[in-house]
């Protein structure tokens, strides 16, 4: 992944140069195009590699082996402030570290224009829970795929973030830990992130911009709220899950650069 990262940097430099040439005003842009969101998981300052040991601020050493999260309800904002909301029924995505295809989300039928930011949810929102099965299509079937395992039977719903691995701490040596977040009782724990693009994403009938998003999964457990696995290897409910979703997850994403080609 490091190599890719470097390549991406190189390309982005080109993209940056080319984009200044490209930034004609978008009032002329018509028709629909597509936009891609690429989720690149990192661990702090390093690219994420599964089964590799990372040390957290509390001294605990974790080796993640499974990272999956739900990205939902994507809204794109244009330079003029107008927004495009991806239809809810086609706006739930499972980003799975072990399935590279799942980390690149293609959004079709986007009105041409210059986009400046993206907002998305992490998890399933209250409106969807209130709607029950309505509009869920195959969400359950997908979540139930053995490769994902993102249904959450104890809450008749979905895991929003699944972050598993092993941990070595004062009393544990390579002990399996599990962080599962989702709706807990009447608390929805749905998180949102809004990312400004460092350069505009120019959606055209013949240009499909790709937004490269860095997702720092370290922040899930080592952010504003620090999870100490010493206090318990399973984090699946209660205030810890609420804090992870409220304080940590919204800050883990960054739009690093945009390719317009």
């Amino acid at each position: 992944m490091k190599k890719i990262f470097l390549a991406v940097l190189a390309i982005s430099t080109i993209a940056l140069t080319s984009c200044s040439n490209d930034s004609k005003d978008d009032t002329t842009a018509t028709g629909n195009g597509s936009l891609k969101l690429e989720f690149d998981n990192v661990y702090g300052a390093a690219d994420l590699a599964l089964n590799t040991e990372y040390t957290n601020s509390n001294g605990e050493k974790v080796k993640p082996n499974n990272v999956i999260y739900i990205i939902s309800n994507v809204v794109l904002t244009k330079a003029d402030g107008s927004t495009y909301t991806v239809p809810k029924s086609s706006s739930y995505f499972f980003v799975n570290e072990t399935d590279e295809a799942s980390t690149l989300i293609t959004l079709p039928n986007i009105p041409a224009g210059d986009y400046t930011k993206v907002k998305f949810g992490i998890g399933v929102d209250q409106a969807q829970y209130d709607a029950g099965a309505d509009g869920q299509g195959d969400l359950w079937t997908t979540a139930a795929l053995p490769s994902l395992g993102m249904t959450w039977s104890w809450a008749s719903g979905y895991k929003f973030v699944k972050f598993e691995g092993t941990v070595t701490s004062t009393t544990h040596t390579d002990a399996p830990y599990k962080v599962h977040t989702g709706k807990t009782g009447s608390i929805y724990n749905y998180a949102e992130a809004t990312l400004d693009f460092p350069n505009n994403a120019l959606v055209r009938t013949n240009i499909t911009p790709q937004v490269h998003i860095m997702a720092d999964v370290k922040k899930i457990i080592d952010g504003t709220t620090v999870i100490n696995f010493e206090e318990g290897l399973d984090v699946m409910g209660g205030t810890k899950v609420q804090q992870i979703m409220a304080n940590n997850v919204p800050t883990m994403f960054e739009a690093h650069h945009v390719h317009n080609d």
């Binding site: 209130d130 029950g132 195959d138 039977s153 008749s156």
Partner: protein, 345 residues
């Protein structure tokens, strides 16, 4: 309610004659909220009830192919004549005879309920079916296999098409059909209901009426409305079985104040739904009343209503207990328990 009954009869007839008719016109079900009920919780506008939606839901409810071993349907544990409970089973057993640790509650008037399962693990009538189907103990079903089975079954293909024209056979519509079936499972014609609505057949005896007053005074804070639940979670003082140590609502929220709290259950058809409580520990209503009178334990998060200045439980004389039980038996709704429209065959 008469309307529903008439429709019921009509459904039964229409159901048989139209089996092979692909041009079949799906008819809406005109669902009326009984006048003594609280308002519906379920927003039917997102899933309008239809004859074929109900029929599809019923077929799914009674289909053992939803479970991994092909034998356990929803109806296996939720039996109509027992108000859709697993009568006589303290703990329901599911696939491979695996046994859970909770007693199956009745499936009735679900569209009025905002919290499902003893711990409120679900709060939507459509979403709740994800739990039994995926549960290793109950059905251990794989939704992907189930949808594939339905896509390859002629009868399902026809019913889905009729119930949800132009919609795919998918998890969303499976859940909606079950939601429709459970909504129509409305029990509202007990003698008590008729009494409340001033209908014929609604005469209560002096003892039953006395029991109703006692119930209102001593039980109705928790067992509220004509559905007998306030949809909250409370600890009614059951002593904790250390072998199971069911923490109740805490399992869902992991909030310490929720430990040992369970959903206040509806008491409709209570005569028919023994054994009682989340773990089925009491076999008779007498045992339940004795619990409230003298068995309440001061466990963590005991409901304050059951602890007045250190005196635990509810003051009840033998006579009062008998009257309350007489009242509880007026909640039995034979029409519901025997309605052929709800039955498997």
């Amino acid at each position: 309610m008469k309307k529903i009954l008439l429709l019921t009869a009509f459904l039964a007839i229409a159901g048989c004659s139209s089996d092979d008719d692909t041009e079949y016109q799906n008819l809406p079900i005109d669902y009326q909220v009984p006048s003594n009920f609280p308002p519906l919780v379920y927003d039917l506008s997102r899933n309008p009830l239809t004859e074929k939606g109900f029929e599809l839901g019923k077929k799914i409810f009674y289909d053992g192919r939803l479970s991994s071993d092909g034998t356990i349907s929803c109806g296996f544990c939720h039996i109509q004549s027992d108000a859709f409970t697993h009568h006589g089973h303290t703990f329901s057993h599911g696939v491979n005879d695996a046994s859970g640790t909770r007693n199956a509650p009745p499936v009735q008037n679900m569209a009025y309920q905002s919290q499902f399962f003893w711990d409120g693990a679900s709060d939507h009538i459509e979403m709740l079916s994800m739990a039994p189907i995926s549960s290793e103990i109950e059905m251990n079903g794989n939704i992907i296999d189930i949808i594939n089975m339905m896509k390859n079954d002629a009868k399902y293909k026809q019913l889905y098409q009729q119930a949800f024209p132009n919609a795919p056979i998918d998890a969303e519509h499976l859940l909606k059909a079950l939601g429709q079936f459970m909504t129509v499972l409305t029990s509202s014609n007990s003698r008590f209901d008729k009494y409340r609505r001033g209908e014929t057949g609604g005469a209560l005896t002096v003892a039953e009426l006395a029991g109703y007053s006692l119930f209102n005074a001593k039980c109705a804070t928790c067992h509220a409305t004509d559905l007998f639940t306030d949809n909250t979670f409370r600890n009614n003082g059951l002593t904790i079985n250390p072998q199971i140590n069911d923490v109740g609502r805490y399992r869902v929220t992991q909030i310490p104040q929720d430990k040992f709290k369970f959903k206040v259950p509806s008491l409709r058809n209570i005569e028919k739904t023994a054994p009682y409580m989340h773990d089925g520990r009491f076999f008779t209503l007498e045992a339940v009343l004795n619990h409230y009178q003298s068995g309440v334990g001061n466990t963590e998060n005991l409901d304050p209503i059951l602890n007045t200045n250190g005196t635990l439980g509810i003051a009840l004389t033998t006579e009062e207990k008998a009257k309350i039980i007489a009242f509880l038996k007026t909640l039995t709704d034979e029409e519901f328990l025997t309605n052929p429209k709800f039955s498997e065959f």
